[in-house]
């Protein structure tokens, strides 16, 4: 009998402790302030973000709590958390059409009435808008991906004109090979980077056929049968066969790109415009003037595809600390804090606010000068475009024997389920 009672008491205690552990999720707030939770991918939060957050905490008494996920898992985590109602107060996403992926009407606060919106530059306002409403606070910069080239190596190889067609591009690659260097460093193992190649070339199709993106985004248009893109993919395969990417390019990774370009073993690489600053940090001999850039000339493309401004911060519609979040954004948008931010973020280009210029890399002006026009690249212009998935399909073209048309059909197959029936 005594054992029975003891067993009952212990069982109840175990159950109670279990319930306590499972359900004791009460949030501890900073004394006298509010806690703002921020979700982001690892690579999107830099030291300066933490420094400014600390400064804000000191000034306001509010507390900033970071919820950082690895970059390649962040979108999974964000999507899952929003779906189950556990999204952070502020969550980072790409600007442009990516905003649509997260059901903005359901999960994002309309920020149009905030004072700082009036100080946005045009591209920032456009890139953070959904249905005429401002959905993001953004301190990033507009940028794009082009062929970065080593000017000295071009000169040594006798390349006097910047390639502006596929034929001239091939001729330049042959000349680089002739001086014993590898024409292009391409991280073939990094799927998203292969997706960037094609994502830049959709800009050309949109430029030649206005409404191409709109058709893709309302699901009345498909990739299959796009001759220009198929031709570009065939040319990409031809370049690989010609050895322009070097041996074992499918083992190359993006993480090695800076070191490889700094080594001067490669003449070109598909990069963003602030990339030279990263190379200079590794090899001070290669200053930002050592580089030039031109649009990816596959399919004779001359259009430079840009982002919609990079990464922005959305406010969770269900946040209980909206006042604190608005206060935090107001703090970050002050000119002195923007200056500190862009001074520390040399990987970013022009500032998203009119208050300060930000950083305008020389190659940005170069690539825009070498282009006939600019437009949104696929990642920010085409709904449900995913560079990693597209890159996976392109990898299959290199190693699995699939065709350019298979790649385009594969992109349609990936996008279609997101539109529903």
């Amino acid at each position: 009998m005594r054992n029975k009672k003891a067993a009952g008491i212990m069982a109840a205690a175990m159950a109670l402790s279990m319930v306590t552990v499972l359900f004791n999720c009460e949030e501890v707030h900073a004394e006298g302030g509010k806690t703002i939770t921020i979700a982001a991918g690892t690579g999107w939060v830099k030291d300066i973000d933490k420094e400014l957050a600390a400064k804000y905490e000191e000034e306001s008494g509010n507390k900033i709590e970071w919820q950082i996920s690895p970059d390649d898992q962040y979108e999974n985590v964000l999507g899952s958390k929003l779906a189950v109602g556990e999204g952070a107060d502020i969550f980072y996403t790409r600007s442009g059409t990516t905003i649509n992926k997260y059901q903005p009407e359901k999960y994002m606060m309309d920020l149009s009435e905030q004072e700082w919106v009036s100080r946005y530059v045009d591209w920032a306002k456009e890139g953070t808008s959904y249905d005429g409403k401002t959905m993001q606070f953004q301190t990033w910069s507009v940028d794009g991906w082009g062929i970065l080239y080593n000017k000295a190596m071009f000169e040594e190889a006798g390349i006097t004109e910047v390639p502006d067609s596929y034929e001239s591009f091939k001729a330049a690659c042959d000349k680089i090979l002739a001086i014993g260097k590898t024409p292009i460093y391409d991280p073939g193992a990094t799927q998203w980077h292969l997706g960037v190649w094609l994502g830049e070339l959709t800009t050309q199709i949109e430029s030649d056929n206005a409404g191409f993106y709109a058709g893709l985004n309302d699901n009345s248009q498909v990739f299959a049968g796009q001759e220009g893109l198929a031709k570009a993919l065939d040319q990409l395969a031809e370049m690989e066969e010609a050895g322009y990417f070097g041996d074992d390019f499918m083992s190359n990774t993006w993480e090695d790109a800076v070191a490889k370009m700094a080594s001067q073993d490669y003449a070109m690489c598909v990069t963003y415009t602030t990339f030279p600053a990263e190379v200079e940090a590794v090899n001070p001999e290669l200053t930002q003037d050592s580089w030039g850039m031109f649009p990816i000339p596959l399919n004779d493309n001359k259009v430079f595809g840009t982002s919609a401004g990079g990464i922005g911060r959305c406010v969770n519609k269900d946040t209980e600390v909206s006042d604190a979040v608005y206060d935090y954004f107001e703090f970050l948008s002050r000119p002195e804090n923007l200056t500190a931010y862009y001074d520390a973020r040399l990987d970013l280009g022009p500032c998203s606010f009119t208050d300060i210029p930000g950083n305008v890399p020389a190659v940005y002006e170069d690539v825009v000068g070498n282009a006939t026009g600019t437009g949104l690249a696929a990642e920010d212009g085409i709904l449900y475009w995913d560079n990693t998935q597209v890159g996976n399909l392109i990898q299959a073209m290199f190693v699995g024997g699939s065709s350019a048309e298979d790649v385009l059909q594969g992109i349609d197959d990936i996008r279609q389920p997101s539109f529903g029936e």
């Binding site: 999507g79 499918m250 996976n392 699995g400």
Partner: protein
């Protein structure tokens, strides 16, 4: 008599609640979700019946059937190699060797490391300019040099090899425990009767090892079918989907916000695992009982 025991049903209840909350309910919820079109990019969740399953099995040339095929290949090959290698190591390190305890520890060590760490380390080892190719070149085996994780013919095989390397020691330990349960008298008596090592292995060692072999084969099969971390860290399913397995595909579907399809894939691997594991256990145990 049993009712007077101190522990009883009420001690099972807390564990049962925990198991129900953390395992049974999520499993059932996953099955229910697999019959919906839940997609994070669209509002609303709709019942679509077996549509997700139809998409998986009817998508000829698509990623789903390919990932099922790769999972099956990975499982069959690694189960055979892990078991054989584990058995070989166990026989080698059972008796006789003076430094066997050191070797046992060395062979078991990879299992103690996180698969992700092993994967990341082997990415460096298997790089075109990595240590493996350097060794091959230095001993004149240039013809065997490959971009191990980037070529069609070697990518999945390399991932299998890493998994075998990681788990062989674990197999060895379980089989070693089985070997040490075999009384020496059997070997002594059979020696007197003129049985050689080969006959002793077939007639004494193997029959005694049926139970541990059942365990390692069933567990290796389950590990193989559920493989994720080694593949994810080594190749991410690439290049071009050549090493895509069910669980990396599930991860991608989650990444695309397609929870309905992700759960459908998960249910398939769950059911296949349960059926194969129970079937194998029944078959192998049956032999054990009869033998």
């Amino acid at each position: 008599m049993y009712k007077k025991k101190f522990y009883g049903m009420r001690f099972i209840v807390p564990a049962l609640i925990l198991y129900t909350v953390l395992y049974i309910i999520p499993t059932i919820a996953g099955m229910v979700i697999s019959f919906t079109d839940w997609n994070v990019t669209r509002p609303g969740i709709h019942f679509v019946g077996l549509q997700n399953y139809a998409n998986i099995f009817m998508s000829k040339g698509g990623p789903y059937l390919a990932s099922l095929k790769h999972t099956a290949e990975f499982t069959v090959v690694t189960v055979i190699l892990k078991t054989l290698l584990g058995l070989g190591l166990a026989l080698l390190l059972n008796k006789g060797l003076r430094s066997r305890n050191v070797f046992r520890m060395i062979f078991f060590l990879p299992y103690a490391l996180a698969p992700l760490i092993i994967g990341i380390s082997f990415v460096s080892v298997l790089k075109p300019d990595g240590p493996l190719n350097t060794i091959l070149r230095s001993v004149g085996l240039e013809a065997l040099v490959h971009s191990w994780l980037a070529e069609k013919g070697t990518a999945l095989g390399s991932a299998m090899a890493v998994e075998v390397w990681r788990m062989a020691g674990w197999n060895m330990m379980i089989l070693l425990a089985g070997l040490q349960m075999i009384p020496d008298e059997y070997y002594e008596a059979s020696s007197i009767d003129g049985a050689g090592p080969w006959k002793q292995f077939w007639k004494i060692t193997l029959p005694f090892l049926r139970a541990p072999l059942t365990t390692v084969i069933v567990l290796n099969t389950i590990h193989g079918l559920r493989v994720f971390d080694i593949i994810y860290s080594l190749t991410g399913g690439g290049p071009g989907g050549l090493t895509e397995v069910i669980n990396t595909q599930v991860f991608k579907e989650f990444g695309l916000g397609r929870y309905g399809m992700a759960n459908a894939l998960n249910v398939i691997i769950f059911l296949v695992t349960v059926v194969i594991a129970l079937g194998m256990q029944k078959a192998l145990r049956g032999k054990e009982d009869n033998g």
